[in-house]
Symmetry: C2
Subunit: 424 residues, 2 copies
């Protein structure tokens, strides 16, 4: 299968302009040509991009996808009431089948918003794996222990959970230790050993709230969460940390020393009143910064345009300097940096990259005057401007229609029923 995208404005964040006019050829799952001249060939399909933007799909590095089912549940409540009296009681009622449908609803939302790759972290990976595989969606899936798994034989648990996720071109696995406050030291150490022996990367929620940091320092002889994890050897192989809101210079230095990647989740952090992450300081430490949506229970949408706008603007207001963290910086975070953190060969429109591609309609008022397109994408763009989403060479979304083997109306009906049942 050979597809030509012609007459596009192609995003190239390594170039001075950031965007150039050209054409892209995809063969099967791979980008095989990017050029200003149209390459003559026999194409199975020719897509005229009509001068719109062609860019890599977004990589969302922190999600709890099935929580789409809980969208909007008890918003505007104090954290404890939201979490312990609403979210968790509902989650306890979720069946494997519910999680499967919640995952599929999330895939609809990802695709319609131009997200082509995620880092997934939830429970019941059999259901999640099945849903993602059926959709032909790209993900690194997390497995690992939480408080509810204290008492079970952790090593057997890890082995079994790891085996559920069969790695393919589209699916990878990561050991996701939920957090230092929902696991104990033994569990974390066993994960460190298991992942070292089996060559598996690691992820964790880290320093998300002031409470987490405070509790950790009190309990662990003044060690902050990064100091605590460093002592357990957690960072000694490829690691991605979610949130990283409350971090001082020493904490950031640890992440920098071990080449840890960060997934910043600004809309979740401000909606839950957790805080604003020190992105500019992370940049100065050379940390690989990526962006996550954190799932819709806390956000409440899966929208990297919203997150990009927030990463740039919150970073500015956080230190009263409008010049820090540029549109180009956040576009990198949302694409190539995310791909790097998750270990997928995507995130750029370059020959040899896997074909995760989106088309962005710029023939709308908010893209005019049509100059400064990088700026327009980040500061004026909306996820709804995405009109075509391709994952691994397959078009999974185009103009409101999805091609994931399941009718969207079926998914909508199912999640409505599930929500009604679990909130009864």
């Amino acid at each position: 299968m050979k597809i030509l995208f012609k007459n596009a404005k192609i995003l190239d964040l390594d170039s001075k302009e950031g965007i150039f006019k050209g054409n892209v050829v995809v063969e099967d799952d791979t980008i095989i040509n990017v050029s200003q001249q149209i390459k003559e060939d026999n194409y199975d399909k020719v897509i005229d991009v009509n001068g719109n933007i062609l860019m890599p799909g977004f990589v969302d590095t922190h999600c709890h996808s099935p929580m789409t089912i809980l969208r909007g549940i008890k918003d505007d409540a104090p954290l404890d009431e939201w979490l312990f009296n609403n979210v968790i009681p509902c989650e306890n009622k979720l069946t494997s089948e519910d999680i499967y449908w919640g995952e599929k609803l999330a895939v609809l939302e990802y695709l319609s918003a131009g997200i082509t790759c995620i880092e997934e972290g939830y429970f019941d990976n059999e259901a999640i794996y099945r849903a993602l595989k059926e959709c032909n969606f790209r993900a690194r899936i997390g497995f690992g222990p939480t408080t509810r798994d204290v008492g079970v034989d952790n090593l057997t648990y890890l082995k079994n959970e790891s085996e559920i996720i069969k790695e393919t071109d589209l699916i990878k696995k990561v050991c996701f230790v939920h957090s230092i406050y929902t696991t104990n030291e033994e569990q974390i150490s066993q994960c460190v050993d298991f992942t070292a022996k089996n060559n598996i990367p690691r992820s964790i929620h880290l320093s998300e709230t002031l409470k987490e940091v405070g509790d950790c320092t009190v309990k662990n002889n003044q060690k902050t969460p990064p100091m605590y994890l460093e002592d357990l050897g957690f960072f000694d192989r490829q690691t991605l940390c979610y949130h990283c809101v409350h971090m001082d210079k020493d904490d950031l230095q640890i992440l920098s020393d071990y080449n840890v990647s960060v997934s910043t989740c600004p809309s979740s952090n401000i909606k839950l009143a957790s805080g604003i992450a020190p992105i500019y300081a992370m940049q100065n430490k050379g940390i690989n910064i990526t962006i996550g949506t954190d799932g819709v229970a806390s956000n409440n949408s899966l929208d990297m345009f919203k997150e990009m706008f927030l990463v740039a603007t919150l970073s500015k207001v956080n230190i009263y300097d409008a010049s820090v963290v540029s549109a180009r910086d956040v576009l990198k975070m949302a694409t190539i940096n995310g791909a790097k953190a998750l270990g997928f060969n995507v995130g750029e429109i370059k020959v040899g990259k896997k074909a995760d591609i989106i088309l962005v309609d710029i023939n709308k008022p908010h893209y005019y005057p049509q100059t400064n397109l990088l700026s327009h994408l980040v500061y004026a763009g909306k996820s709804s401007d995405v009109y075509l989403t391709m994952v691994n060479g397959k078009i999974l979304y185009e103009n409101g229609e999805f091609f994931i083997g399941e009718d969207k109306e079926t998914i909508y009906k199912k999640v409505n029923e599930i929500r009604e049942r679990i909130t009864k």
Copy 2:
């Protein structure tokens, strides 16, 4: 002309649920019936809303619309470089005709985003008035002096400028004193006198940056901007203040005492690194809080969905409390509170209100499960979900097409040409 909207979910922020199923009848420019039963009648047009949301159009209480022409100009630069080396030199090249086209581009964006009413503040009101009138758009237009008018006879200036704006059902006027740092005391006092004599309300940029507050207190014997204006009698009639970011309790008390309305502009405030406004404290003082986009030079889009999300979430993170400033609160700010501040009989779907109505498509992944719709509007909604916009009983936008008497392609072409010319 009689139009029936049937089968709608109607926003009603006074009710417990916030939304009810019903039907709305518009005759000419007015809502004449809102009911759960369809009223039998001879309708000129019947619109099936298909279970989507029908709600009042948004009232954007602070805009510099023609600055659409400057979208994305020198983003991510320090404020002084952005303003003095880029924005102002370009503005100095704008002709009356350029401003006319910039206003029209803004109207396209307002309509596509469900904004039906604005408070306008820019120079060359002849061009602005002409553009808005041709579009059938609703606005309160500001006139008033800035630094560039120091030296001209202010009273003659005010009289002439005021006369340009002929009030109609759709157009009102307001005396817009740009700010305390771009006008002098004599100009402000003359505006106070002029508006008192001519029964005209007042607007001003207020306490937007720390610099403004600091400079004011140094220059005026420790008086903050609200204290300074109070002494000049500025608040003794209907007043709207834009921004109000840096305000202490005493400042807020002054606004509260005089029933001053506030236009908060969160995306502008964070992108320009001005700060985060104390919205929760304003609520506690009973201040009428409204929302503004501040125009695209600093924002960079005209999107009340973005602003609503930010008002709620920034207010939460600002005081580390997720329970303050709810979805319902911000929906009120964006509709009825704005209408009240500007003095238009709009902002609610009630009998007798002028028909400024939008339809929001909720048959999209980010509105599922279809519960908690107020929350979904604010925390998951996008301006692109608006598919029909009616102003004063006339449909001006539907499914990507505009009905403002001017072809959108003509406007796009014009603003591209203007931008190229002024940045040469």
